[in-house]
């Protein structure tokens, strides 16, 4: 009898762990890109390896990106970005931790397109700031895809534009995120 209770408890624990894992979705191949349109020059870059985890039950969401993984069309831009602007050696990672505010509206088990509002903190260049991001979760075949477009100001994150090129480079950066998620299996 005692053995049966122990086995039953074990099965229940295992089931709850599995159920909890199935609530979560992730990718390590998410896309992020940014564009900054200055008076003289447009600066753009893309990254193909952001990590994202979403807990469909609670709406908790996390992103992480290594700054040196951004690819620029020109090597000089990439060097200036890492050395002079975001100081990647000192601040190698940026991350976002937040919550899908209207997570109850998103039916993760049902195909559809759901507009979302996500609130959280973005840490970039060693500065953490609260942001609110409008986005979209598209569920297809049981897999959610997250997408969002938003802007940030470099000055909010203490990223300084050298005075010599201040007129040429915009303080506003438009960011696009696109992450196709897979169920997390533990």
């Amino acid at each position: 009898m005692k053995k049966r209770v122990i086995s039953l408890t074990g099965v229940l624990v295992l089931l709850s762990v599995l159920a909890s894992a199935q609530d979560k979705f992730f990718t390590k191949n998410g896309r992020i890109s940014f564009v900054s349109k200055g008076n003289v020059e447009t600066i753009s870059a893309k990254h193909k390896g952001i990590t994202c985890v979403v807990d469909s039950k609670s709406g908790a969401i996390q992103f992480a990106v290594l700054m040196k993984g951004f690819e620029f069309p020109k090597a000089l831009m990439q060097e200036h970005f890492n050395e002079n602007y975001v100081e990647s050696d000192k601040y190698p990672k940026a991350d976002f931790k937040g919550q899908v505010v209207n997570n109850g509206d998103v039916k993760y088990g049902q195909d559809g397109v759901y507009n979302t509002k996500t609130k959280g903190t973005l840490t970039l260049h060693g500065v953490t700031k609260e942001i609110e991001v409008p986005g979209k979760i598209t569920v297809k075949g049981g897999k959610p895809q997250l997408s969002a477009d938003f802007t940030i100001l470099l000055s909010d994150y203490n990223i300084k534009i050298p005075s010599l090129v201040k007129e040429n480079i915009s303080n506003t950066v438009s960011i696009t995120v696109d992450c196709a998620l897979e169920p997390l299996k533990n």
């Binding site: 390590k28 990590t51 290594l66 700054m67």
Partner: protein, 150 residues
Amino acid sequence: MRKKPLIITGIVLVLGAAGIYAYREYNRTNVNLVEVAPDFTVEATALVDEFLANDSVAYNKYRNKILVVQGIVKGVDRVDGDCTVVLGDTVEMSSSVRCLLDSAHVAAGSAFRRGNRVTIKGAITGFKKDDTGLLGSDVELTRCVVEEKK
């Protein structure tokens, strides 16, 4: 009298050379790593262990370096025409080395199968420590080229 044209020619040549240098420098793209000599050759699992033991020491050692990484293929991620080869042990969600391949090497990387032993050269972008406790931490390399398949 003869000095003036010489000086003008000299100035024009210097300005021309500076202009060509600036133009080339401005339009320079990242070098193809095929021809670049590596700074370190390391086993994938040993590289991950170094970062897990002390990520700041390991980062200072490897940052901005070109690495040749040897290891067992744990997985191959294909997304939108890009290919990331994941090296490490074959335990799911454990820490790994993730190698985003240069577009010229996507076909070679896509042919890799789990369990193959491979050698990949790439530029390290850093270590992504797993804050969630769910995914495993990763050392990430970019612009990777496939060296050989054993």
